[in-house]
């Protein structure tokens, strides 16, 4: 067999022809990169209303006043940062919620240090999330709030709602893995075989750079080559460069992941798939998905390579709620929050869904009394009314 030959002469000819174009682009690139660039992310004004250890809660108020009686708490993943939901004006899920009159609270998990290595999923779900939910309920004098989880934060939100159904009015899950018994995504294949115990015993927390490298390696052709070829091609376009840098800032702004939480997530979920089988235990309590009887709206991306549809779509069947809906969007893991096309539909759809289920709760949490027991009875009554049944839709 003869050795294949690349037509170097033709390539050289083409390069010469293109050289003038290249010079022009280089000039433009220099103007753009050396000039002022607006690459700030997470610029929507907010107040920090709650702090505990490393975590903070951001509060966003609609300018025209809240149209919903119940505020929405967003729980992001421990991987990467919640700033993705407010990447830039015009591409901000937060801003879109505010435009729809939804009052938003969002947990900022901060940057775990070595002292956080012993924090478990229980500490995040029954500790931090529960404290934040109680804080918001008390602040608004309401027994229940709306909860929306993103990715791993969605998994935490599902666990939370199952363990504290009396405090949640509606649950929204987005790109949330709950079924880990799938070979659709590479993460699901790789995580089943890694020795996470040795990893955590050695490293303490999972270093951010290790996570970043792991995510890049999921698709090196696109994430390590093509993406930057695209950047070079558009380097003279100021708006493109600004958006690109914003995304780069977000992608590589990764906190370390608390070791014990990561260990449990891999062992109990990726390896044993306990959650969907109602066998997961947190703080000595079993997480029974049948106890989720609140309305559930479940979003996932058809082309999500991190949390594939197979990992998300079983949740609505597993919960006890009769008012559930699956929404499969034609996008990937991040596209749900940053794609201009999806943004037009995503937040308005959630706002509409919440408005339809925003009946006022009659009772508010008392300071002395077992709020839980009183509201629990009410939850059953509320749940039985919608009877909307399971829905599936895709856009």
């Amino acid at each position: 067999m003869s050795e294949p030959k690349i037509p170097v002469d033709l390539i050289m000819k083409k390069l010469t022809e293109d050289s003038e174009e290249v010079l022009k682009t280089a000039q433009k690139a220099s103007d753009v990169l050396l000039g002022p660039l607006d690459t700030a992310i997470s610029t929507t004004p907010c107040d920090i209303v709650y702090e505990e250890d490393r975590i903070k809660v951001k509060h966003y108020k609609p300018k025209t006043g809240a149209k919903l009686k119940t505020p929405l708490l967003l729980v992001y993943a421990l991987i990467n940062r919640e700033t993705m939901l407010d990447l830039q004006p015009g591409r901000s899920t937060i801003q879109n919620f505010l435009d729809e009159g939804v009052e938003v609270y969002m947990i900022d998990w901060g940057y775990p240090t070595r002292k956080d290595r012993y924090l478990t999923i229980d500490d995040h779900v029954n500790g931090y999330i529960n404290n934040v939910v109680d804080f918001i309920r008390k602040r608004h004098s309401i027994p229940k709030i709306n909860l929306m989880g993103i990715c791993m934060g969605g998994t935490f939100s599902v666990m939370y709602t199952a363990l504290h159904p009396e405090k949640i009015k509606n649950l929204i899950t987005t790109v949330t893995p709950t079924n880990f018994d799938t070979d659709q995504g590479l993460l699901h294949i790789w995580m089943k075989t890694i020795d996470v115990d040795r990893m955590i015993d050695t490293l303490g927390n999972v270093p951010a750079d290790m996570m970043n490298l792991g995510f890049l390696i999921l698709n090196p052709a696109r994430l390590m080559i093509d993406k930057y070829v695209g950047f070079l091609k558009n380097i003279g376009d100021k708006t493109f460069v600004e958006n690109f840098i914003r995304m780069e800032k977000w992608i590589f702004d990764s906190p370390d992941v608390p070791g014990e939480t990561f260990r449990q997530f891999i062992n109990d979920l990726y390896k044993k798939n306990l959650l969907i089988q109602n066998k997961m235990e947190l703080g000595g309590r079993r997480v029974d998905l049948k106890k989720i009887t609140v309305p559930l709206l479940n979003f996932y991306g058809r082309y999500d390579h991190l949390v594939p549809p197979e990992a998300c779509e079983h949740l609505t069947e597993a919960v006890g709620s009769r008012d559930t809906e699956d929404v499969c969007l034609d996008t990937g893991h991040i596209g749900i929050y940053v794609s201009s096309r999806v943004q037009k539909e995503f937040a308005p759809r959630i706002a509409r869904w919440l408005k339809e289920r925003d009946k006022p709760e009659k009772e508010s949490p008392g300071r002395k009394k077992p709020v839980a027991s009183r509201t629990a009875a009410k939850t059953k009554a509320t749940i039985s009314s919608p009877k909307k049944g399971k829905k599936k839709s895709s856009t």
Partner: protein, 293 residues
């Protein structure tokens, strides 16, 4: 026969020559990944690569010192008085290295010829396996010789750290080599395609078209590779070897730190655990107290 040619036949020259070429090989191999990804690295990642680079540098200094003519002469002179059994061990080690060199040369001569598109079952695993075997059988044992005396623990940990660093580097090289394979395969597939269209006179002037196609082929190759059991095995090997090395290195650093008035990770971890448990208890009690009010 010239003097130079004569020198090449002496075992010390051969050994010295082999050590230099082996060092050069590993030095360049360890640079493949950082170099290829340099434009895309975050500061954090660069630091990690710098840390990784320091390992081959240490190895290089060790080998350079060892392979210097005077060291080699001293070593081989000293050998005259070594028991025969040690000589035999070294000879068998030399045999192993020759074998490895031979395999490297074979591999080099096959480059670009053995790759078959979208197939990773026939990866030349023997090359790295051979190197690992040779290292473990012939070299590793020297770093794991039982130590004696007052400083035995420190010496033992130093030896173990070096040993695990070497094993980590072998695993890392295999991993990096595996990650490079799709590039080799897709480039070959693309060059064949270009040759074909050139022959037909259908070569497009728009080279972006070919780039798009190459990226697509490359992506496809990576997807096939990443799902293969071979890749998962190598990935786990490199993680295991990395953890072994970091663990040994941490013990060594703790040994050093105990001579200074600073807390080690072990000290801090014990403290953090206590704080974690106390905080948890305090939060629980605070809630109980609040409920009583």
């Amino acid at each position: 026969m010239s003097e130079n040619q004569n020198e090449k036949l002496y075992p010390e020259s051969l050994m010295s020559f082999w050590m230099k070429s082996a060092t050069d090989f590993w030095k360049s191999t360890s640079r493949i990944w950082p170099d290829a990804t340099e434009p895309f690295q975050s500061e954090g990642l660069k630091k990690q690569f710098q840390k990784l680079e320091s390992a081959p540098k240490m190895w290089q200094s060790f080998i350079s010192a060892f392979s210097a003519p005077e060291s080699m002469n001293a070593l081989f002179k000293g050998m005259d008085i070594l028991p025969e059994v040690v000589l035999q061990t070294l000879q068998s080690g030399w045999g192993g290295y020759s074998d490895l060199q031979k395999k490297w040369l074979e591999k080099a001569s096959r480059m670009g010829k053995q790759s078959e598109a979208y197939k990773f079952e026939d990866i030349d695993k023997d090359l790295f396996k051979a190197w690992a075997e040779v290292y473990e059988k012939e070299f590793s044992q020297f770093l794991n010789v039982p130590q004696i005396g007052l400083t035995r623990f420190y010496q033992e940990r130093t030896g173990q750290t070096l040993d695990r660093l070497n094993l980590f580097e072998i695993a890392l090289s295999e991993f990096v080599n595996l990650l490079y394979l799709p590039v080799e395969k897709s480039t070959k597939a693309m060059s064949e395609k270009l040759e074909e269209v050139t022959k037909k006179g259908e070569l497009s002037e728009n080279f972006e078209e070919y780039y798009r196609e190459w990226i697509k082929i490359l992506e496809g190759h990576y997807m096939v590779l990443f799902k293969s059991t071979e890749y998962i095995q190598v990935l786990n090997n490199v993680l295991d070897a990395g953890q072994n090395y970091f663990s040994a290195r941490n013990h060594l650093i703790e040994d050093i730190l105990q001579f200074f008035p600073v807390a080690t990770n072990k000290d801090m971890d014990e403290l953090y655990k206590e704080i974690y448990l106390l905080k948890k208890e305090v939060k629980k009690l605070s809630k109980k107290v609040a409920g009583l009010k």
